[in-house]
Structures are given as C-alpha cells and as structure tokens.
Amino acid sequence: MGTSEYKGKASELLNGKDIKIGQSITIHTAVGGYSGLLLPRYELFDDNHIVIKLGNGYNIGIDITKIISIEKNCSELQYSAYINGKFLDSKSESLDEFRVPILDLKDSLPRVALISTGGTIGSKIDYRTGGVTSVMSASDLYLSVPEISKYASVDTEMLLNEYSENLVPDDWTLMANKIIEKINTGIYKGIILSHGTDTMHYTSAALSFALRNTPIPIVLTGAQRSSDRPSSDAALNLIGATRFAVKSEHSGVFVVMHANTSDGLLACHLGTRVRKNHTSSRDAFESINLEPIALIDSDSIKMQSNNMLKLTRRGEGKHSSYETSFDRHVVLLQYYPGFEPTIISDLVKNGCKAIIFEGTGLGHVSRDCFTQLKQAIESGIMIFMTSQCLWGRVNMNVYNTGRDLLGIGIIPLSDMTPETALTKAMWLIANNESSVEIKWKMQENMCNEITYVSPIEIDKK
C-alpha cells in the first residue's frame, strides 16, 4: 500500500503527526474516537476526509473538520471505536493470517510462457481513482491460480501494465517481438498473453497478421471480473488458455474466454474473427460469422470442424521472418445519418493513408459523400468497406449506392470484421510498398479473416 498520499488539509494534519499510510491510528472527534489502520485516499476524491479501516474490517471516512486530535497507536488495534464514553469492541477479532500457497514447479510438464500486459485479469483496487487498476504481474497471476501448474510449467514475464484502452499499435509490435523472442528459444509448447478485454480483439487480429507463421499457439486471455474477486473468471480462463496452449494441434493466434455465463465451458476463437460484444458479461467474446474454433470443458478440448478454414498444424509454420510493424495512419470510420462528408477531406489533409468504413447494411454510405470519396481516392487514399451490422457479408452489387461506391473505387471486404480490417490495413501499409499490392492483399484471405461461405445457422454457444 501507500501508492496514493493525502493532499491538502488532510495531508497537513497527518504530516504534522508524522503519520503514514498503513499505520494504526486513533482519531478523536466530539462524539468519541475511532481506531484503525490509515488507508490511502482515492486521489480523485476530496481532501476533507481521512479513511481508516476499523477492527471490524469496515472502512469509513472521517470529516477532518470534526477531528479534535489524531495520534499514532503504540500497539496493534485494541478497539474499533469509542463513542459517547463507551468502547465498541470490534465485532470480530480474529486476524489469523493465511498466506497464499507457494507453488512447486514440475520440470516434467510442458513449458509455456505467460506474458502479462495488464487489464482486469490482473486488477485490484487503485487508490488513485478508487476503481480497479491493473497491477498484478504475470507471476502474481500464476500464483493466484495454482491449478495451472497441473498442466504446464509456466515462465512468467510482465511486459506491460496497461488497461487495453491505453494500448497503441506500437504495443502490438512490442508484444509481437516479445513473443518471437519466446518462440525462438524453442522451449515453449505455447504462449499465453494476458490482456485487457476492451481491445483484446484488436490485438489478437494484429498479432494474427504479425505472427502468421508461428509454429506454436499464441493464446490471448483476459477477465471480465477482476482477479481480486472470488467470482473472477480469470482463473478458469487462464487454466483453459494454458490447456489449449499445451494441447492444441494447431498453431496460430487464439482468444480463450468463457463460452457462456456459467463457469464450465470455454470458447476458443480465431484471433481474426473474435469481437467483444458485451460490456460486462463473461461471455462477451464471440466469433463473428462462424462458430468458435474450439470448445474447452473440464475434460476435453473439442475442435469444431470447419473445412472453410486454413489452419496450420503445430510445428508447420515457416518461422523464417515476421513482419511486426504497424502504420497508425489508418482510420476506422462509422457512417451514420447526418455524417459530414468533409470529415473525409479533413482526414486526407491530416495524412491518413487508408479509411476502413463501417458502412450501413450491405456496405453503404450516402451519395452525399461521393464527391469527397472520389477526391480522396484520387489523392491516393485507400478506402475499404465493412459493415456496421457485423453479422453478414458486405455486398455492394445489390443497390445502386453500392455499385456507385464500387465505381468510385471503394473496396469491399467481404465478411471481415471492421476491427480486423483496421489492423490488417495498418500491418499491410507498414510492410508493403505498393498500394496495388496492399489493396489486393486486403481482399485476400491471409489468416482466416475472410470465409467465403456464410453458414445458415451459427451456434454462438
């Protein structure tokens, strides 16, 4: 503790008595006194209250204008509060300590590398904001889920400590390079990347392209409930990710998360086909336009058969070279009624190299944009079309608008998700010279980001 100090008046009061966070103190007010451990103050709240943890475990805030005196206790807590002339013994006094278990590692097990990048999966309380923040390292995570040691011998490394909304394409490069470093040691059966869930599907798509010849599975996982909660989904997700990393017959980039609200079944998704579709539920991640690639229950890993997919078998990847850079000059733009066409020309002025449109329905934007779109394309910008419907395929031959857009030079991206299209364009632009080649490759299926058959029914699990 002690990450966040008091400010202003509260800080003066505490400094005057040389009182530090974590110390046992007694505060007297007109009605009596409170004893407890001084806790840090959330930075974003006012500086008029001092927060203490009472002997009964409750935290309360005490208004500093009501404080008559404040002092350090010489010994441990003896009582919780002293009010109107009476000591109120804390309701529970057993402070027996139980430490977390120490793991004994078994050498005989397959090895995996667990790389942490932050997110809810490694979160606990943040005294800066009062919310949760990502602070647990990969080894903390590993220690909090000792069951993993049944399946693999895990080497841990903390690469980043960021919520995923703060990640940028350079971080994908950093992650890709770190993973390549691990792959090149040749000792790992698989690699697990713990990640914040908000943009995990962007990272999984980006890594799918950057690491498309990986000989081993790279499994991303995260949590929708933070690891400091007994109900956290982190443990099961980590266990499932570890099992898949060790057992999978295929290499590639995958995301393993809950398949439904129950703790039991996990779904493994292809890195290029997955999307976060719910703000908070455990089963927020879904494969778009196809079923999850595998289902993982407590006993087995069941691969879903899908002959439309090109999966690389473990060890088959030609890991000669990887292209890990991304160019940030790509914009993901959702069209909406009232969309201001000059946004397009402004983007051109600001150095944008490609636009991924999330068009309406089958892939449309209003004819009001035609002029700006033509100008943009004439000035060398590449413009691609995906659909904000997410489910289904773009088809710009059905309506006049679509045909007109095709005529202008907008390139349809079939059933690719908008996020995957964005990362793919960023990656292609960073690693290719010719725009003809980039446009061609955008429409070509490289990492199962496009499937050419639309299943009648998709079991989302």
Binding site: V31, G32, L37, Y42, F45, D46, H49, V51, K53, L54, N56, G57, Y58, N59, I60, G61, I62, D63, K66, S80, A81, I83, N84, K86, L88, D89, S90, K91, S92, E93, S94, L95, D96, E97, F98, R99, V100, K124, I125, D126, G130, G131, V132, Q224, R225, S227, D228, R229, P230, S231, S232, A235, L236, N260, T261, S262, D263, G264, S280, S281
Partner: protein, 636 residues
C-alpha cells in the same frame, strides 16, 4: 449441572437483520420480491481472494475447501445481470440508504461522515460475486426497551444473500430472487441479560423499525442472530434462533459449552501440564486393520473401494476427548461435528474404545501402527473418501491445536432442540475489501436534518393514536402494531367503512390462527387481503367469509376473490360426474316419462344441490351428456 452466569460473565449480543420495503433492490432496479418460478439457470465456482491487506479470511478458506460448484436459478422479473455478477452494481438505492440513516438517527447512533461500501467475502455460494456488499452507516447509540437501555454497536446496510434451495453432494442450489434485497443489520452490545429479556429487546427493536413503515413483511424478512461469550472466551455467533424457548436453551447450552471448553483448557494446562498440543506426528492408514473389526457400519462402508480409515495420535490427551465438564459437552463431540462438513459421519476416539464393534485386538494393532508409546496418548480414527479424510484431518489438527485457547471464535447454528453446531470459523476483518465499483458516499448534513423529521415516533404514541383514532383497545392496537400488517391495516381502514376493530382482529387473530394450523401466510398477499375487505365493504361477501377466504388463498385453492364469489370451487371432474349421476338416478321416473325434456327440471335440481361448488356451464354440459347417454342406452 448448570453454570452460574455471574461466575462466567455470560454475555449475549443481539444482532437483527431486517429487509427493507424499498420495492427495488439495493444496487439494481429489479423487484425486491421473492419469486416462485425460476426460468433461468447457470453454474459457477468461487475461490478465495486476498483482502486489500494481502491476507485470506479463514472462513473463506474453510468454505473453499468444501464446495466445488454452485447452481443458480433466476427469473428475469427479480434478477438481472447485476445479480448474475455479469454487470457492475448500479447506484445505491437512495430510499434504502435513507431508511438506514433514519434508523441510525432513531437509535442515537453516530453516523459516519463518509460511507464506504465494502465487499464482505462470503464464498459459500450465497452471493454470486463471492462477496456481500455492506456498508457501515453508524456506530454507538442505544435502544430503549421497557425503560432499559442497551447499547448499539453498529448499524450496517447490506445486500441480502441468495436463497438456499438445496445442498447435497457438494453441489448447492440457490435462488437469485432474494439476492440484493436491502437489509439493515443492527448489532447490539453484548450484555448480561436473561433470554426473555433478549426476546423483549428483539421485539422492542423490531417495533422501532416497523414504526418507520419502511420495512418488509413476511417470512424471512427479519432474522436474528445472537453473539454469546463467557469470561476468558471469544465471541461465538449463533445463527438461526427463531423462538424464545429455543433461545433459552441455546444460551444455556452455549454457556455450558463455552465454560466447559475453558474447564478443559484449564485441566490440560494446570492438571496435565500440557503447554503445546502435539498431534501431527504421523498419520497412519488403518483401513486393513478395521476390515477385521466387527462393526457392521465400518464393514459396510468398506464395500466402497474408495473408503479409507486413518488414525493419528494426540500426545498426553488420554481421557480428555471423553471428559465431560457438563452433560453432553465433550471435546470428542466438538470434533465429530467438525468433520461432518466433509461428508464424514463422525470420529472414533480412544476414550470410547473398544466399542462400536472395534475390538481390543483392532486397538492393539492400531496402537502399534501409531507407535503409541504412552498410555497417556489418545488417538482419533476417521473414515471416508481419501480427499475428504485428508481435509477433515487437517481441520481436526487445526482445531486440536487451538484447544489451549479455550473458546474459538466460531459461527454456529442453533438446532431446533436448542443445541448449537459448528458452521465455520468466525470471519475476520480480512474478509473486508472495498467495493471498487461504487464511489464512497458523503453524508450530507442537510439530508440528515430532513431525515430527522422521519424518525419513527415512540411506539406508545402510535398505539395511543390508534386507540383514539380507530377506537381499538390497547391489546389490539399493540397486536396490530407488532404484526406485519400495520401498513395494510391503515390502508384498509382509510379506503373502506369497515369497523377498524373488526379489521384489526381479522388481521391478527385470524391469520395467527391459520398460521398455528400450519398454513403459510406468505401466500396471502397484501393485494388479496385488500381485495377481500373491498368486497366486504361493497357487501358482496359476508363477514364470516373473511377467514374462509384467507384459508382458501393459503391453500392455493383460489387466486382471486371473484372466484369465490362466483361460487367456483375446485370440485374435481370426477366428483362432479358422480354427483350428477346420483341426481339422474334419483329422477329415473321423470327421465323415463319426459326424455330430453326433463333437462330443464334436472338442471334446476342439480344447480340447487351443487350451488357454489362448480361452474354452471360445466354442470350443464355434463348433465346434458349424461342424460343423452342414458336415453341412448335405453333405446338399444
């Protein structure tokens, strides 16, 4: 032998949990009623998490060893993603917060300047999140009952837990409807007090809460726990005490048990000179030895290949497991109760052996295997599945090592017969963790000023008002006040012209009578009671019908009053047919003479006989069919 309460400084602290009548839950907008039908289900598991101080709560750790998986049942009406732990909590229910603040003001309790919502780690499955959201509203103050003041320790506002539906084979099922209903917890100071005084105190405190008209009614809407301690012992929390006679027995039992444990400790330390309990030197497998025992129970249990029996010795403990400082209070019994949580029936210990079919020869073999050198040593045998036996031995050793501390801080449950049994270690402060999804709540002094106006008046003022305003006698005024029907009474009296005394007696005596007969009064909703009195007011039903209607609702025979009025009663089809056949047979002459033309006359007779017991149209149809059948047969 009974303990002398003065000698042992017996203290009893009352803790009540009262559901609030807020309509919606504490941290979401779901209805706060209990549901009968569940349409959704899912399964989860929970694991212990560290507190913000980096330690794991002993109660949480204990629970985590027992149960693997929980199944939750829910309905959309009463639960949403918040209860399913799939969505963060919404803002706090202001009405619930106000109620808790009003109670604090009413009990002169000192309200915190800033309220911090905490997570109290509970991983027995009763909360999907693995914690109960709770906040300390105030500390200190007092409640005055019959002129006697009892101190208040703390007042908390918290979420109610899920409803346990079933618990077997390490699989528990819960209903989510109750989860998240706001609950006020008032903990009183432990005091030297007699059991009837505790009940008076509970009643008095309950009256203050009810006078606010902000609390829920019905079974389970108020629950009380008692904390019991003796001199030199630690506080033991007893859950599930319902009635006075049970409370009297529980307090006496706990006084004996806790003092008994202190006597045992004293004897160990001072008579036997034991300074440290040594019991973890070698645990041996005695399965094969017991295979040769003559215990039918053991032999039967060994038919299951996975059953093992293990034994371990406790140095210098001979005689102590069976030692009985008070009747029925033995260390051996405490230990037997402990292992039941691992699905193990109990233990065998050396103080009671040979016996139970375990022979002298068996014992000799066991002692040899244990390398028991001294006749002063005791040993314990325990059998069951391997994992369970190992967990159970671990907790037995832990419990034995704590014997020298006297009374351990525990949570226990009251049995109907007035004893108590072990549930789990007393949760410590390590179970408390800040609820990071909800910002601290600053208590506004202007708000408090306005809430002071809403402090419930003393009960006497209410009863006196009811006496003068409604002409009730004092007894009835108090009865209606103490019943769950005060709000309903006022509603009925204000909306109808029926005599308040009549309404009050129907809401108290009549319902109590039916409850005594074993009917569930929770099946009689406020809406239905209101409907009954409205119909009575309009002259559509007789006064005598009121208790009959209560009974019909509690038996689930009718759903609405109009079903009773229209005379519809659930007579089975078969009964109806039999009745009608009887009537037809009594009028054979008329039928012979008039054929189908006798239908009108027969219908009149039948309706006169079955009036109010079945639907007229149905009677008509059956009668017509039967008559046609009968005439057709005659023609053949």
């Amino acid at each position: 032998m009974t303990t002398n309460k003065l000698d042992i400084n017996l203290k009893v602290g009352l803790e009540i949990h009262q559901q609030l009548a807020t309509g919606t839950k504490l941290f979401c907008q779901c209805r706060s009623n209990e549901d009968e039908e569940y349409t959704l289900d899912f399964s989860r598991s929970l694991r212990p998490a560290q507190s913000e101080l980096g330690i794991i709560d002993p109660a949480a750790l204990f629970e985590s060893k027992k149960i693997q998986s929980f199944r939750y049942l829910a309905a959309n009406r009463t639960s949403c993603l918040v209860e399913a732990d799939e969505e963060p909590p919404h803002c706090i229910n202001r009405e619930a917060l106000e109620s808790a603040l009003i109670f604090s003001l009413a009990l002169n309790s000192h309200i915190a300047d800033e309220i911090h919502v905490m997570r109290k780690i509970v991983i027995d499955g009763s909360n999907t999140s693995g914690f109960q959201r709770t906040m300390l509203i105030s500390m200190g103050g007092f409640v005055e009952v019959n002129g006697k003041r009892t101190g208040v320790q703390s007042i908390c506002l918290e979420e109610d837990a899920s409803k346990l539906i079933s618990d077997k084979n390490s699989k528990r099922e819960f209903g989510l409807d109750r989860l998240g209903i706001p609950l006020v917890e008032i903990a009183l100071e432990p005091v030297s007090i007699t059991p009837p005084e505790v009940m008076q105190l509970a009643l008095g405190l309950g009256r203050i809460l009810r006078a606010s008209k902000r609390v829920a009614r019905g079974i389970g809407s108020i629950r009380q726990d008692v904390n019991i301690s003796v001199e030199d012992g630690r506080v033991v929390e007893i859950k599930g005490v319902q009635k006075l006679d049970q409370l009297v027995k529980v307090i006496q039992y706990e006084a004996n048990r806790q003092h008994g444990l202190i006597i045992i400790t004293d004897k160990l330390k001072n008579e036997l000179g034991i300074k440290e309990i040594r019991c973890d030197n070698g645990i041996v497998d005695v399965t094969d030895i017991l295979r040769r025992s003559s215990s039918r129970k053991i032999i039967e249990s060994l038919k299951d290949q996975s059953t093992v029996y293990k034994a371990f010795k406790i140095e210098g403990f001979a005689g102590m497991l069976g030692f009985e400082p008070y009747e029925g209070i033995r260390l051996g019994k405490e230990l037997s109760q402990l292992v039941r949580f691992y699905g193990i029936g109990g233990i065998f210990h050396s103080d009671e052996l040979p016996g139970y079919g375990i022979t002298k020869e068996n014992l000799d073999s066991i002692e040899r295997k244990l390398a028991k050198s001294s006749k002063n040593d005791a040993f314990i045998i325990i059998g069951g599945g391997l994992t369970n036996v190992n967990f159970a031995i671990e907790s037995l050793i832990q419990r034995l090592k704590a014997v020298l501390e006297g009374v351990p801080a525990e949570t226990r449950a009251a049995t109907p017969s007035g004893e108590t049994i072990y549930i789990r270690p007393r949760p410590g402060s390590a179970r408390m963790y800040p609820e990071t999804d909800i910002a601290p709540i600053k208590v506004d002094s202007l708000l408090l000023d306005s809430l002071r106006q809403k402090i419930p008046r003393p009960i006497e003022e209410y009863t006196n008002e009811m006496i003068s305003k409604f002409g009730l006698n004092k007894k009835l005024a108090e009865e209606i006040f103490d019943s769950q029907y005060l709000n309903l009474f006022e509603k009925i009296v204000s909306s109808t012209k029926i005599s308040p005394t009549f309404v009050a007696s129907k809401l108290t005596e009549d319902i109590t009578n039916l409850e005594r007969q074993g009917y569930d009064s929770s099946l009689l909703s406020d809406e239905r009671v209101l409907e009954i009195f409205n119909e009575l007011d309009k002259g559509r039903i007789a006064k005598e019908s009121v208790p009959i209607l209560y009974e019909k609702f509690m038996k689930r025979e009718i759903n609405r009053v109009e079903e009773f009025e229209s005379g519809f009663e659930t007579m089975t089809e078969r009964q109806l047919e039999d009745e009608i056949e009887g009537i037809l047979n009594n009028h054979l002459d008329a039928i012979n003479e008039k054929g189908m033309n006798s239908l009108g006359m027969l219908m009149g007779r039948t309706m006169a006989m079955l009036k109010g017991r079945s639907d007229g149209q149905k009677i008509n149809k059956i009668l017509k069919d039967k008559l046609e059948q009968m005439l057709a047969l005659r023609e053949q």
